[in-house]
């Protein structure tokens, strides 16, 4: 073989391989003059088993089909054909009834098309019969019998599913809501799981093979290309491999590439089915016949989240679908049952397991960072509960982008095999046991990494950092902290500086800071910085993350100016990087920076207008990035809108503030549960603004709304609740309702002794007394108030009170 000859063969091969098998010979004759090349091509085509034939199955011309008339009235065993129901590549399906008229029974008969009998298709029929014989499940269409027609074609007899519709069509026609669709989908998963447990892979799951009877009963049909997984029948499966039909829109990437279908490729197809049910559309639009193009698309692009097509669809469902459809099988649900469980968790209102795999700690940081006014003290108390909710709502798109970060990618690759091993142990089909929860997997991984000898110390450290993030995703902060600490413990201070060390210390810094372990966070952030300073070639994205962590520490230590400088550096670095990779990081940094400028601006009197202006610009940019990354209705967008509102209010632009708060409130109402602190905070912000506008009744109803939510979740001494009592009192005073005002103030007074020590208690007491004096201008009431204060025995308060009384008397 000469290179020149080979080059010729090569270029012809790639063309002819795209030609349908039946037409290849003619093509070769027409396009290839050299008999030697032609022979070589023939022989190569014969050797190219799986991928070449796979590429052609779906573009072969439709086979000769018998007309319905031709078959009508013909007998097959004890049945007589009534009419054609449908036909496909393999053959046709007929409605038939008993020929002997003994008792009425209508059945569906599937008959191999003419010209296929005797080859692989017959074997496929035989296999379907064997496979169905193994399966006995209420959602799997059973088999009644089968045989050979007079002209030697095999057929299968199945129950006639009268009035059955393909799953998607059924859902559309009955206009089922999301919940109802999900219940149907769970039934489908149960059927698939049953097949898997019997070592059968369906391998062609799509709505057309999932029929729904008029009473809503689901029936899984067409196991024609199903595969048996056990060894004894492997030979049989291989025999039928020759021409393998498949429905490209629902096939997994590995099937498209020509790999054998597995239980996990069925999980992928289920993901596509769910996608279709939720959106009415398919994740990828590719011309049907072009498998090659589809393979390219699958290999290079992630499906857009279902909510892209159906705005308002909860992020959890996005995450579930995208996890089922993960490109790498090991990142999918381990089984159809695990997928169904997650859907059921969602239906029950519980947190789902499907979460984006990375960057979640940044969400934690985000929440922590964006304690814009009113949110301030509230968050610390309920930070963990809030985090669990917010994290559950975070978006898979971001995780996909984050995976592109070099550092993240290295980490993911290094760990892929480790994870694969873990999931292998947990694969219910192999282990014959129930699906293991993600939490258990993480515990096991962490235990294993403490004893694992084959991985290097650095790899283990890096893996533990990943596991720490995963724990954080599962709202398990103790696990996250323990794993991060373990990761740091594997670092030897005498080692030369490395990116791994920087990543690991940064992880601990982020987790510790988020858990208010300030000293630990400070040490870790400084360690990370020390590593980065010795690594001039470290990836800029990592450098930015470390600076960001350090900025948070400095801010906590009361150095906001220095923190703001660092964050300006972070943003400057990020502006040099491809936006795709750092969009969320950058939005976070911009938002934090905006907050710092806001605080610095309002610390001075008069307010520093230029800083306020800068904060406004930063927040606007952050908001834009967040919308790009998460869509309109993500809670993070809500946070940032809240910030915009605060800034507008600060600058006296009440109309703009009102719009921002209202938009944020709407998002919170859609995406966060009742009583969530974020919703309380937003209602409070809105109320305060209305109060400033002296719109007493609107403010009062906003306060009442916030109070209703807060009573469910917040303790009586919580600052938000104290703020609310005060606000309601002021609304009542403004409206001239002294009675209501007095009651609200008394409630506030009762709550103050329970309040957290870190609150500005003196100021609150002063405000309370001030407004009480305003509300109760009678001498008797004033005497009573004085008595209460004297009983408290605090001279400072007494002095304050006297001052206020004088002011009130003057006023």
């Amino acid at each position: 073989m000469t290179p020149e000859l080979w080059q010729q063969i090569r270029s012809l091969y790639h063309v002819v391989v795209e030609v349908p098998a039946a037409e290849r010979e003619a093509w070769l004759q027409a396009n290839c003059a050299d008999p030697q090349v032609r022979e070589e091509l023939r022989s190569l085509l014969a050797s190219a088993v799986a991928d070449a034939t796979l590429l052609h199955e779906t573009v072969e011309p439709a086979p000769e089909r018998e007309s319905a008339d031709e078959m009508r009235g013909q007998s097959l065993g004890e049945f007589r054909i009534v009419q054609l129901i449908g036909s496909g590549g393999m053959g046709s399906v007929y409605l038939a009834e008993r020929a002997d008229g003994g008792f009425e029974q209508q059945v569906a008969i599937k008959l191999v098309r003419r010209g296929l009998a005797g080859d692989t298709s017959s074997r496929r029929f035989l296999r379907e019969r064997q496979i169905l014989g193994r399966l006995n499940h209420r959602h799997i269409c059973s088999i009644l019998g089968g045989g050979l027609s007079e002209d030697g074609r095999p057929y299968l007899v199945m129950p006639f599913l009268e009035g059955a519709l393909p799953l998607d069509e059924y859902c559309e026609r009955r206009t089922l809501d999301v919940q109802q669709r999900l219940h149907m989908f769970v039934a489908v998963c149960a059927a698939v799981q049953h097949a898997h447990q019997n070592l059968v892979v369906h391998s062609d799951l799509k709505p057309g093979n999932i029929l729904v009877l008029p009473d809503g009963e689901v029936q899984l049909v067409d196991f024609g290309i199903a595969r048996l997984l056990d060894q004894a029948e492997a030979g049989l499966t291989t025999l039928a491999e020759g021409g393998r039909p498949l429905t490209p829109q629902y096939a997994s990437p590995e099937q498209i590439e020509g790999d054998s279908p597995t239980t996990l490729s069925d999980v992928y197809s289920l993901g596509v089915v769910l996608y279709r049910l939720l959106t009415g559309t398919l994740p990828y639009t590719v011309e049907r016949a072009n498998l090659r193009q589809l393979a390219e698309v699958l290999a290079t692009t992630d499906p857009s989240p279902p909510s892209r097509h159906r705005p308002g669809l909860p992020e959890d469902l996005d995450n579930i679908v995208l996890k089922a459809m993960a490109r790498e099988p090991e990142r999918r649900y381990v089984s159809a049952a695990a997928l169904a469980e997650d859907v059921q968790r969602w239906l029950a209102g519980e947190p789902v397991q499907a979460r984006p795999a990375t960057l979640a700690y940044q969400l934690g940081k985000f929440v922590r960072r964006h304690r814009w006014p009113v949110l301030t003290a509230g968050l610390a108390l309920v930070a963990l509960a809030a985090l669990a909710t917010v994290l559950a709502l975070s978006n898979a798109r971001i995780a996909a982008q984050a995976r592109q970060l070099q550092a993240e990618r290295d980490r993911a690759e290094a760990t892929a095999d480790f994870w694969a091993g873990l999931f292998e142990q947990a694969d219910p089909v192999r282990a014959q046991s129930a699906a293991t929860s993600t939490a258990e997997l993480l515990d096991r991984a962490r235990a294993q990494l403490t004893t694992e000898e084959t991985l290097s110390r650095a790899s283990r450290s890096r893996l533990l950092a990943v596991i720490s993030t995963a724990y954080w995703n599962l709202a398990n902060p103790e696990g996250a902290l323990a794993a991060a600490e373990q990761a740091v413990a594997l670092q030897d201070p005498t080692d030369p500086p490395s990116e791994t060390a920087a990543v690991v210390y940064k992880q601990l810094a982020n987790i510790a800071m988020s858990l208010d372990r300030l000293e630990q966070g400070r040490q870790a952030a400084e360690q990370a910085m020390a590593q980065i300073e010795q690594l001039p070639d470290a990836p800029p994205a990592l450098r930015a993350q470390v600076l960001d962590a350090l900025a948070l520490v400095l801010d906590e230590q009361g150095q906001p100016e220095r923190a703001a400088e660092l964050l300006e550096q972070v943003v400057a670095i990020q502006r040099q990087l491809p936006l795709e990779e750092i969009r969320v990081d950058m939005a976070t940094a911009l938002g934090s920076l905006g907050y710092m400028h806001y605080r610095l601006a309002t610390q001075t009197k008069p307010v520093d207008e230029s800083r306020l202006q800068r904060a406004d610009t930063l927040v606007a940019e952050s908001l834009r990035l967040l919308r790009e990354a998460f869509g309109e209705n993500h809670p993070q967008v809500g946070f940032m809108l809240n910030a915009s509102g605060v800034l507008s209010r600060e600058r006296g632009n009440y109309a703009a503030a009102a719009a921002h708060f209202a938009a944020a409130g709407q998002i919170a109402a859609q995406s966060l549960p009742d009583g969530h602190t974020m919703r309380v905070s937003l209602a409070l912000n809105q109320a305060e603004m209305l109060l400033a506008q002296q719109d007493w009744s609107a403010a009062e109803s906003a306060y009442a709304q916030a109070l209703g939510a807060a009573e469910q979740t917040l303790p009586a001494g919580h600052p938000d609740r104290i703020d609310q009592q005060l606000g309601i009192a002021r609304c009542a005073l403004g409206a001239g309702d002294l009675d209501s005002a007095r009651q609200a103030l008394l409630r506030m007074q009762a709550a103050l002794p329970l309040a957290e020590a870190e609150l500005p208690l003196e100021r609150l007491w002063a405000q309370l007394l001030h407004w009480r004096l305003v509300a109760e201008p009678t001498a008797a009431a004033q005497a009573e108030i004085r008595k209460a204060v004297q009983a408290a025995g605090d001279p400072a308060q007494l002095a304050l009170l006297q001052q206020l009384a004088t002011e009130a008397a003057d006023g």
Partner: protein
């Protein structure tokens, strides 16, 4: 790994083999070899060998030892694929030398390629050695296809990783892989 072999490998790597890479080749070889041996010797029921895991692990180890020089993963992959082929073939030859003479049945190419997941038997060893020879023949007229097979099969790299390592488009990798597989399949069936 002696001087001659190193020179041979460096020649195959062409201009990418300049500088620090040359110094590290023996280290890559040693690293992969000991890792492979350890994995195969580990008391596991099925003696599985995950080449992908080996390559990743070797990368981590070496980059840890020598962080700066191995920062380019694609670069490393290009080297590792060739080295991994050597490691596996050496191992296969070792297996054959130990168990000379046991019967052989022809294996399909797919089965041989499955060595990364299946049992490393005498048959596999034999087939590997034959594959090695066939690959050398392929290389005479299609060097790139040979490299693609090394990356995809011996190093367990994905299409994208292979494309990056060889600095060609993914579609080229897929085409080379498809044609090379057909060609090798025929060679092995005939041989």
């Amino acid at each position: 790994m002696d001087e001659g072999e190193i020179t041979l490998l460096l020649n195959r790597l062409g201009e990418r083999a300049q500088g620090p890479l040359a110094l590290l080749l023996p280290a890559v070889y040693e690293q992969l070899k000991s890792a492979a041996r350890r994995q195969l010797a580990r008391e596991r029921a099925d003696h599985t060998l995950s080449t992908t895991a080996l390559v990743h692990e070797a990368y981590l180890k070496l980059s840890e030892q020598d962080g700066q020089r191995w920062r380019n993963r694609d670069h490393f992959h290009a080297v590792a694929a060739i080295v991994m082929r050597r490691v596996l073939i050496d191992h296969a030859k070792g297996v054959l030398a130990e168990k000379r003479g046991s019967g052989r049945r022809p294996l399909a190419l797919e089965e041989v390629l499955d060595v990364s997941e299946g049992e490393f038997s005498v048959q596999h060893a034999q087939q590997l050695v034959e594959l090695d020879a066939a690959l050398d023949r392929l290389r005479r007229f299609d060097e790139r296809a040979c490299r693609v097979v090394e990356c995809r099969f011996f190093a367990g790299l994905s299409v994208e990783e292979t494309a990056a390592a060889l600095q060609v488009a993914p579609v080229t990798v897929k085409r080379d892989w498809s044609l090379a597989r057909a060609w090798l399949q025929r060679e092995l069936a005939g041989g």
